[in-house]
Subunit: 242 residues, 2 copies
DNA sequence: CCCTAATGGTCTAATGCGAAACCATTGAGG
DNA sequence: CCTCAATGGTTTCGCATTAGACCATTAGGG
């Protein structure tokens, strides 16, 4: 209890002296596989890459990857089969996400929402301001259609998948990765509040406008529509977790 | 040479199956300490936090932290003194950054520039759209003044420090961290091209307009001015590293 | 003048993790 | 029916990293 404030407030070193790694290799690998499933990148029934290849891509030893997979098996997310044409498959029925018990609190909520707003509105604008190839255009339209055709149980995953496609359309791998990460954080929070049919329809209308703006190359509109789209759920979250 | 395309293009898994960690603990710790120095968070002559505290904050063992510090000593960045009121101090004269030998190439350049544009323009807008406290306002003005008073040798660090202060003003720790990271990447590229006096003056005028917009709460202007500010160096880089 | 607290410097035991080899299983195709 | 290739499953060895205790040095305060 010597001094109330240590030395000086000397800002910004909180950002640069933050922890070097979020957890051990095992935990981070589990998190990443969960990301693939919950963001709809790995679809139910689909096979994950073979262990040897996946371990290489994740930059992790096969032993560590297998431990992660095993814990996902026990949690009911995946199932593994041996032999040629075997592999690890995403289950058709997935466990319900736990309400996360309000961990993090309000500070973390504002942090995630601010970052999401910046990343995703910026991604929409950047994607619109670029000449997209056939692949990107097809990808956007396909993901949009999947959202429209989704029922309540699948919506969260397909919604995430569309937003990821928008980030991909910027051509920036780092930006795409950042969007995937922040989306995992916000999805965790969104699991605490119910997903209703009317919201779903409204969301689809906004998606339509966003994708149209991007395909038309209207960067200003893309940003505006995305910002409005996000502010909806942001307000919802702030209300629920006040 | 069985199939030209493996299975399906199935996009977005490149983002989610990217490497879990950027390197080993030692390398990442070195990178983080360099970040503190090169972004002007740790000022020449200043003392870093004590090893025990710093190791805790970085989430790394003291042994690993000390190895990182030792390699920075050998590179001429810091010096350590024992005894009470000792510590590790940033050198007054710092080594010149190596021209990085064009590693990464064009794809990496576009990636970094896109991400920077999104993060920093978004940060300026978010900061302006928030009611800032006395600390944030003072911080912004102080960093701006330091830029104006800087000569060529210090400019890059003080410039980074100002941009970091803007990110901090958003109140989002994650966003601040992301800005710090992308800034390290772009600074590495900027080291390949010379820093001229006229650019410096022009940069200061833009900084002035950005900070004013933020302090006035004019989000639209803050975004616009920041976007223009960034597009200048972006064009410069694209020209040099074509 | 000595004592003490805070710092960097060193050592050791335990563990996480990766690399690589090898085993077991499966289904397609000859 | 057999063979083979691709997959998950297992084991072993070695290095990286951690946690914790302990040593050495320094400057200020009694």
């Amino acid at each position: 209890m010597a001094q109330p404030w240590q030395e000086a407030p000397s800002t910004a070193d909180a950002a640069v002296f933050r922890p070097v790694r979020a957890g051990n290799a095992f935990e981070e690998t589990v998190e990443r596989l969960l990301q693939a499933i919950r963001l709809g990148v790995a679809v139910p029934g689909e096979r994950l890459p073979a262990e040897r290849e996946l371990a290489t891509r994740l930059g992790v030893s096969r032993v560590t990857l297998r431990e992660a997979i095993r814990s996902l098996q026990q949690a009911g997310y995946v199932e593994s089969r041996r032999g040629r044409y075997g592999g690890t498959f995403v289950n058709e029925v997935l466990p319900l996400p736990q309400p996360t018990s309000d961990r993090g609190g309000g500070a973390d909520l504002a942090d995630a929402l601010t970052l999401r707003q910046v990343l995703e509105a910026g991604a929409a604008e950047a994607a619109a301001g670029r000449s997209l190839g056939q692949n990107d255009r097809r990808n956007l339209r396909a993901r949009l259609a999947e959202c429209v055709a989704a029922d309540v149980g699948e919506y969260r995953r397909r919604d995430s998948r569309l937003h990821l496609a928008i980030a991909e359309a910027t051509g920036s791998a780092s930006l795409t990765a950042a969007v995937a990460d922040v989306r995992m954080r916000t999805n965790e929070l969104l699991d605490a509040i119910p997903l209703l049919e009317p919201n779903l329809a409204h969301s689809n209308e906004q998606h339509e406008r966003i994708v149209t703006a991007i395909l038309d190359g209207d960067a200003e509109a893309a940003r505006r529509e995305m910002a409005e789209h996000l502010s909806g759920t942001a307000a919802l979250l702030r209300g629920f977790l006040s």
